[in-house]
Each structure stands twice: as C-alpha cells, then as structure tokens.
C-alpha cells in the first residue's frame, strides 16, 4: 500500500537527521498519545534547533510518492524543520478540533513556522474548517507566507471558491509573485478571472508598465469570448500584446 503523507514525512526527516532519530521518535510518540499541548509547542520550537533548516532532500521517486499520497502535493522547497513541524501536527492526538489547534499555533508563530503551517494545508484533516485561517494567510504582507499557500499547494485548487481563487491570482500579480507554480492555474480558469486579468493588464499598460506573460495562461481559454476578444485584439493592434503571448 502507498505510504501516507505522515509516513513519507517521517521517513524523509529521519533519513536526513539520523542523529536526532531518537528525539523525533520519542517526541512524536508522546504527542500522539494526547500529552499536554505544551509538548507539541516544545517540539515545534526545538525543530529548527535540533534538526537545522536545510532543504529536504527529495528524489523524483519521493516526489512521485508525495503526489500519490495527495494529488498535487509537491514538497520540493520544504525545509527539514518545516517538514518535522507538519509531521508533528499530523501526529498529535486531537484534544480539540484541528482548526482550533491550527489557529492557536498560527497566532504565535514566527515566520518559518507560519510558512510550514500553511505548506501543510493539503495534508490536514477537516480541510474545509481551515477556511478562515487560510484567508488570514492570504492577507499576509509577508510574500513567503502568501506563497506557502499559493505555490506548489493543491489546497486552493481543491477548496477555494471562485472569488477567493481569483483574488489569490490577482494578489500574486500585485506582490510581484509568479503564477506558474500555482497548482490548478489552467484547470480553474474562469470567465470572471479572465475579465479581471484583462482589466488589470489595461490598467498596467495605461500606466506605461508591462505585464508578465504568465498572466495570459488563465485568459487563453476565453480568447474568443466576445468582450475579451475585442480588448485583446485592440491591444495587439496597439502593440501592447502579441499573438504569441496568447498562443
């Protein structure tokens, strides 16, 4: 049987931090038995101190196993302490609803912790109960926190309604982030988003500023929508846009 996400994380973290294997195993065993919340806090706090912050070393096989465990989950770019923190959350016995614990941890998190918490989104139980917490992360001005949700993370594709999805794409453009690492960028294209993006492009052109070619990925399926086609054709005639960008 395929390994679960928790089994994968445990295997990867222990392989990379063999000298701390005993501490990891003991801590996880304790927090899996419903020990006081403080034990979880201590593990989360000590994770970077004991394990370091190196990138998780993953092979193509590992990435394929991740995708098999949770379609769209891509842990490349995760750090070893971040992986251990998500593992702890998946392991901890629930004394209260998961979303309550997530909220409590997010309130007091440092930057690296917040990134780890949000990167783990696709793996948590009761994902729909985290909607408010995800909104708080998307509103963050810390780009890396926003990207922990938006990039290489299938949670938005799987759980966002159209309004939130569209605004995530738009915010990515506003904070100079990139669109191509967004999981489901083509799949979740919609006419309303295409309209918003064309408006955004015109606003930028009016200000004499360029737009990224990535912007056209979710617009392409609506290339021939009458209202959009007219504006795009005009932009091509005015030399602001090329047919190649829309190809």
């Amino acid at each position: 049987m395929a390994e679960t996400s928790a089994e994968l994380l445990r295997r990867w973290v222990i392989a990379q931090c063999a000298d701390q294997a005993a501490w990891i195993e003991e801590s996880l065993a304790t927090i899996s038995q419903g020990s006081p919340e403080r034990d979880l806090h201590v593990f989360l706090g000590y994770a970077p101190r004991k394990l370091g912050k190196a990138d998780l070393v993953l092979s193509q096989t590992d990435l394929a196993a991740a995708d098999a465990a949770h379609p769209g989950w891509n842990p490349s770019g995760w750090s070893v302490d971040g992986a251990a923190r998500v593992l702890a959350l998946l392991t901890a016995a629930g004394n209260s609803p998961f979303s309550e614990r997530f909220k409590d941890l997010r309130r007091t998190s440092d930057v690296a912790e917040m990134i780890a918490l949000y990167r783990g989104l696709p793996l948590y139980p009761e994902p729909e109960t985290l909607e408010f917490e995800v909104g708080e992360g998307l509103r963050s001005n810390i780009r890396a926190v926003f990207e922990a949700i938006a990039h290489h993370n299938p949670y938005p594709r799987d759980h966002f309604d159209e309004h939130r999805w569209n605004h995530m794409i738009l915010k990515a453009l506003f904070v100079d982030s990139t669109l191509s690492p967004i999981v489901g960028l083509e799949e979740r294209a919609n006419p309303e988003l295409a309209r918003i993006l064309v408006d955004y492009a015109q606003e930028r052109w009016a200000a004499g500023r360029p737009v990224t070619d990535e912007l056209w990925i979710p617009v392409k399926p609506f290339r021939n929508d009458p209202a959009i086609a007219e504006q795009l054709n005009k932009a091509i005639r005015d030399g602001q846009l090329t047919e190649e960008a829309l190809a």
């Binding site: 201590v42 706090g45 190196a54 007091t108 440092d110 690296a112 990134i115 890396a144």
Partner: protein, 306 residues
C-alpha cells in the same frame, strides 16, 4: 559591520531601516518593551510578541538586516498583576521561537514588590531554557536598582556571563564589569549616555564585555547611535579592534549563547531563508563592507549624540 543589540524597530520608519543598513548595521535585536502606553489586554501583548518574532523580522529583512528579538514582561507592565499573570502564561511559547536570543528586557522600574516577583519568575524561565537575559536598569534610583538587579540574578542562580545589564552609565559600569556581567550602554540623546561620554568610557575601560546599542524607540533617539559612536571612537584614536568588539563582536558573543544568532545568518544565510526572507535582496550576498552614505550620510551629518 555593526550590530545594534537594542533597537525598538516596531516604533521606527523605513527611512530608519535604510539609514541603518547604509551605515553598516547587519543585525539588530528588538527587545520586548513598553510601547509608550500600558496594554490593557493580554491579547494585545500576545499580538505584540507575535509581531516582533514575525512581521518585524520580515520587515527588517527587506532592508537586508537580520532581526532578532528578546521576549519578556517589562518592569512597568509587571505592575498590572492581571496582565502580568496572563503574559507569564504565554511567554514560554514565545521563548523558543526562531531568532529569540534572550528573555528581556526585564528588571526594575520603580522597584515595587510586583516588579520583583515577575523579574524573578522570568529569571527562572531563562535559566530553565538556557537563554541569556537582557536587564533593563531603572532610570530612577539607578545605582541601587542596578546593584539590586545583579543581586537578584545571583540569588536566582543565573550565571553573570548569561546576563547583559543594559543602560549603564559612569556610575554603574565599574560594578557591572567587576561582578562579571556584560555591560550594555544605550547611546541616547540627553538622558542616558551620549556618544562622546561613551568614547571616554572606552578609553577608561577598554572593550571587554562592553556593548554599545542605540535603544532607539518611540522617543527622541537616534537609530544610528552605534554607527556614530564607532565613527567618533575611531576618530578619537580608539583602536579598530576595540570598536569592532563593542559595536559587533561582544553583542554576538553574549546573545549568541542562545544558539539563535550566528554570523552565518547574515554572511551566508540558509537556502530556505534566502528564498523566503531575503529573496531579491542582493545586499547580503557575500557579505559587505560597512559604509556610510545617503541616507546614512545625510543623517550622520550631526555625528554627536549628546
């Protein structure tokens, strides 16, 4: 390169960050403090601590400066027992956050029984977690308050090598050094310590265990206090070695005892930090030479802090 080991950046502007970076500040420590008026809810204190371990750290990184902090219940707010009890419950959770280099700034303000109670409880916490302590010494009845702070550290079994006694002056420095503590000096216009006086102290006491900081906050203060003191000291014939120790190395040695502050953090940041905190920031790559130029140059024009 300079370290400013006492700077309340939450009260400062982006212009200050730019000036500090331009003047050669590569790392700073933001001690938890009193924000100018009392907090009346535990929740606002929790959000404040959350801000200094998170958002302010990110803000500093945008200017190429490594941000660390200390967490604690300051002496003024220790007098609100309901608030103090609440904050004490949350402190252990913040003490292990990334970049927390000490418990502080703690100590006495009016030297009340409640201040004494929470000072001792926080010293016990620091000892339990093997964290250094940043002690704020009182403005009033300073000499006695400073001696008493050290007495209590010793009573609580905290090693003087783990304690930075801050806001020293000519009256307190001899005892602080003699008893084995680190001696911080806040270069503060008019009230605490001007940089010309600081230079005289360096001539007298040398560089061992002496640390210079700006303590810049919401009041009249100068975020370039460390850089200007270094410049004045060099011009006054103090050795490069001494200036390096008191404006950089000693702070690193003292707070580095937390295991949370390492020169590699700014000279060669971990890949994850480069991607998340310092992306697109070229200032740090390969280290850099200290330099004073605009807006640092403009602001360093009045070099003396008196």
């Amino acid at each position: 390169m300079f370290i400013d080991p006492h700077a309340h950046m939450i009260s400062r502007t982006t212009d200050d960050y730019e000036a500090m970076a331009a003047a050669g500040v590569v790392a700073m420590i933001e001690p938890a403090f009193w924000v100018g008026q009392p907090r009346t809810y535990v929740g606002t204190y929790v959000d404040y601590l959350s801000t200094i371990v998170g958002w302010e750290r990110f803000r500093a990184s945008q200017f190429g400066i490594r941000h660390y902090c200390t967490v604690g219940l300051n002496s003024k707010e220790a007098n609100n027992e309901e608030l103090a009890e609440g904050v004490m419950e949350w402190l252990p959770r913040f003490a292990l956050k990334e970049g927390v280099v000490a418990i502080g700034e703690i100590g006495y303000d009016e030297q009340t029984p409640l201040e004494d109670k929470y000072f001792r409880l926080q010293l016990a916490l620091a000892k339990e977690l093997h964290l250094p302590v940043m002690v704020h010494t009182p403005h009033r009845d300073k000499k006695r308050g400073t001696s008493r702070s050290m007495d209590v550290c010793e009573e609580m079994g905290v090693d003087p090598s783990m304690v930075i006694i801050d806001h020293n002056n000519e009256e307190t420095v001899a005892e602080t050094l003699q008893r084995g503590y680190w001696a911080g000096f806040s270069i503060y216009p008019s009230t605490k310590m001007g940089n010309a006086r600081m230079v005289e102290l360096l001539k007298q006491y040398g560089s061992e265990r002496i640390i210079v900081d700006s303590a810049c906050d919401w009041g009249i203060s100068d975020c370039l206090g460390v850089a200007k003191t270094a410049k004045l000291a060099l011009e006054s014939g103090i050795s490069q070695e001494t200036v390096h120790r008191v404006c950089y190395q000693n702070a690193l040695d003292a707070y580095g005892q937390s295991g949370q502050m390492n020169e590699q953090d700014w000279l060669n940041p971990a890949a994850i930090d480069q991607r998340t905190l310092f992306e697109g920031n070229s200032i740090l790559r390969g280290g850099r030479e200290p330099r004073i130029e605009a807006p640092g140059e403009r602001r360093a024009g009045q070099m003396l802090i008196e």
